[in-house]
Structure formats: structure tokens, C-alpha cells
């Protein structure tokens, strides 16, 4: 299924989700407050060392995850090159990379089930009869259920379009996709109603 968790086992997989999230929050908050370059280099080292401790393959996997930062790194480097202030440019880049890396560490070692359990626990004090939790649980399940359905439908629509036109028309499928979502909602809510609905028991 769709997930970003890493296939490589690490000790972080066994750490409780709550611990990892708290560590991430503490780390990113600390990062924001750092002013000195030495401290920043140490801060950068932390996630890197944690990751490296789990093996070469995990390290390589984690570094590849940094790809989306590319355009921003380029912009910052170019900018600071022009203002002849490469040092502060690197400062910004390292902060971004450190936070990004630590966040990826948490994401790739925590399953959806663990996150869901964490959310349930966090919501418990605010959710007396469990009604909100039930609604949220249903919505998450429904979305996960229908993402593959809509992905497949989108590709079928694209095929149907290509069978009748020389152009790509990738964006012509949005209307039928949205329409089918509305129709599906009609049926699914009826089926949901037939099984007791989303209301609290």
C-alpha cells in the first residue's frame, strides 16, 4: 500500500511513536533557536549519526529523501552567491536539511497504525463518548480505501480520452473524477447508513 516507511529495519522502528514525535518537536524547536554555527553543525550531525548507525543502505535511502529540497537549495545558493554571503546561505540550508532529515527519520520508522494509535490517545481527553474519534477513524479509513480507487479511475479516464483524441487532455479527467466522487459518496453514505451510520452509538 501507499506508505513512506522504509523497508530496512532500524531500532527506531521499535521506539514508541510518541517518543519520536516529541524528539522531533524538541529538535526542530531547538534548531530555530540556534545562532552559532558550531552548534548548528552539531545539530546537523545528530540525525545523521542516528541514521548512519543503522547501516549504509538506510543512510543512502535517507539521503535520497532529501531530493525535494533541491530547488530551494539552488535558489538560496544562487542568492547568497550574488550577495557574497555564502556562509549565511549555508546556515539556512543546513537548518532546513537537519529538520527535514529528522522529520524523515520519524516518518520512515513509524507505521500508520502506530500514528493512528497515538492520535487516538491524544484525542481521548477531548472526546468523551468517542464520537469524534469514530468519525475521524471512519474518514481516514474511507480516504485510504478510495485513494487507489480514484487513482485507477483516473488512469482509465485518461485511457478513454486517449482512445478518442490525439491530445493528452490530462486535465480533462478532473471533471469526471470529481463527478464520480460525488456519485460514490451518495452510494457509500447509503451503505454506511445501512450499517448504522457514523453517529455515536
Amino acid at each position: 500500500m501507499l506508505a513512506l516507511t522504509t523497508p530496512y529495519q532500524t531500532i527506531f522502528h521499535r521506539w514508541p511513536a510518541s517518543l519520536k514525535v516529541v524528539m522531533l518537536l524538541a529538535f526542530t524547536t531547538g534548531l530555530m533557536l540556534i545562532q552559532s554555527q558550531m552548534l548548528l553543525l552539531c545539530a546537523m550531525g545528530l540525525p545523521l549519526c542516528l541514521i548512519a548507525s543503522q547501516g549504509r543502505r538506510y543512510l543512502w535511502f535517507s539521503l535520497k529523501l532529501l531530493r525535494p529540497l533541491w530547488p530551494f537549495v539552488a535558489i538560496i545558493l544562487i542568492w547568497h552567491f550574488y550577495t557574497a554571503d555564502l556562509q549565511s546561505g549555508l546556515f539556512i540550508i543546513f537548518k532546513l536539511a537537519a529538520a527535514f532529515t529528522f522529520a524523515n527519520l520519524v516518518t520512515t520508522t513509524t507505521s500508520l497504525a502506530d500514528f493512528s494509535a497515538l492520535i487516538e490517545k491524544a484525542m481521548a481527553p477531548f472526546d468523551k463518548n468517542g464520537a469524534q474519534g469514530k468519525k475521524l477513524g471512519l474518514m481516514i479509513a474511507l480516504t485510504l480505501r478510495f485513494i487507489p480507487v480514484f487513482i485507477e479511475r483516473a488512469s482509465l479516464l485518461r485511457l478513454a480520452h486517449r482512445a478518442r483524441s490525439r491530445k493528452h487532455g490530462t486535465w480533462r479527467i478532473i471533471f469526471p473524477l470529481a463527478l464520480s466522487a460525488l456519485d460514490d459518496a451518495e452510494h457509500v453514505s447509503e451503505a454506511l447508513n445501512a450499517r448504522g451510520g457514523a453517529a455515536p452509538r
Binding site: S116, V149, R153, W171, I174, A181
Partner: protein
């Protein structure tokens, strides 16, 4: 009969969150300027014009929440907590705000016909309400002045204007195809309870095609 309304809203929010995710996989179109545009923010606008302010924002939030939990739902297969540590975090936070403002505007623009109303709503929500947190976020994350950040994202604006127009066209088409389902224009979340049960009776005929 609040139960039935709630069921419908719960399902609509969930399904539209799934639509936004599916839209992330539509290949990007590259404009003449060389700037790639993705379909996801169009999905956010549609959440506002079709579902309304509250449900639309909920769909966007649900989408964001699932992305935060690690699902690779953002265009390009990105996901996880890291996207909130990226310079584009402001735009992400802007998603539910954009959906809300779009839906809110749709409800206020009741006097206009659907096309112009959704265009205006999408402009207010999908561009203005999205770019404000987006540019602020960018500014903070790369430590540059606001105007500079605005200049950095300006190349994406023409693409977003195209999306506003598309949103209007699509919303109008949806409205004429399924008038009773569009939550945005009704003051309450779908007082069309009867319409819902009627619709439940009618579509099965189309199913024969399966």
C-alpha cells in the same frame, strides 16, 4: 435525521480528500515559462466550491493529516512530517485555509451565477488566501524578505490563474449535472435530505453498465 446528513458529510469529506491525493498523480503540465503546474491546488479549490467552507476545509485538513502521517500524497510522491519542515510549508498550511475561504466566498456570492461565483471564490481562496501563508512561510524558512519570496513564487501565478478558470468551468459542469449534491450553496450542510434519498433511488439505473 441529522444522522443521515452527518453520514453524507463524513463520506464527502473523506472521498474528496482521496480525490486531492489522486490529483497529485496527474502528470504536471509545464507552461511556456518552464514552470510546472500540478493539479492538487485545483483540487483544493474544488473542495471549496463543491463542498463549501467547513466540509471543504475538513477535506483539505484530512488530506494534510494523512500526508503528515507518512503517506506520499503530495504531487511528486512526497509525504511525511518532513514536508512540514520544507520551505513550502506555508502553502501546505494554506490548503485548508484556501478551501475554507473558497467555500465561504461561494456562499456569500449566492447572487452571482455559478461560473463567475466559483471563479471569484477560487481567486479569493485558491490564490490570495493560499499565497499569503505560503509566501510568509517561505520567507521565514529561507530567511528572506517577503517581497523577495513573492517574487520567487510569482512564476507560478499564471498557472494558478488557469486553475481558477478551470475550477469555474468544472464547478459549473458539476452543478448542472448534480445540483442537489453541491453543498456549497446551501446555508446548511445539505438541507436536501429528500434530494439525497431521491438520488439514492435514481443512480442504480446507471449501474447496469458495470
Amino acid at each position: 435525521m441529522i444522522g443521515k446528513n452527518m453520514d453524507k458529510t463524513v463520506v464527502l469529506v473523506a472521498l474528496f480528500a482521496a480525490v486531492i491525493a489522486a490529483l497529485g498523480l496527474i502528470p504536471k503540465i509545464t507552461l511556456i515559462s518552464g514552470v510546472p503546474i500540478t493539479a492538487q491546488s485545483l483540487g483544493i479549490m474544488l473542495c471549496g466550491t463543491i463542498l463549501g467552507a467547513r466540509a471543504g476545509a475538513q477535506a483539505a485538513l484530512l488530506f494534510l493529516g494523512l500526508t503528515a502521517l507518512g503517506l506520499p500524497l503530495l504531487a511528486g510522491g512526497r509525504g511525511g512530517l518532513a514536508v512540514f519542515a520544507s520551505p513550502s510549508v506555508g502553502f501546505l498550511i494554506g490548503f485548508p485555509i484556501a478551501a475554507f475561504v473558497t467555500g465561504w466566498s461561494m456562499q456569500r456570492l449566492g447572487r452571482l451565477s455559478i461560473g463567475p461565483a466559483s471563479a471569484l471564490a477560487a481567486l479569493l481562496g485558491g490564490i490570495i488566501a493560499l499565497y499569503i501563508p505560503g509566501v510568509i512561510g517561505l520567507s521565514v524558512m529561507i530567511d528572506k524578505p517577503l517581497l523577495a519570496s513573492l517574487a520567487l513564487v510569482a512564476p507560478f501565478l499564471p498557472g494558478d490563474v488557469i486553475k481558477v478558470i478551470l475550477c469555474a468551468v468544472i464547478t459549473r459542469a458539476i452543478y448542472s449535472a448534480r445540483p442537489q449534491m453541491v453543498l456549497a450553496k446551501s446555508p446548511q450542510p445539505a438541507p436536501d435530505l429528500d434530494a439525497a434519498t431521491q438520488a439514492a433511488d435514481n443512480p442504480p439505473q446507471k449501474d447496469e453498465a458495470h
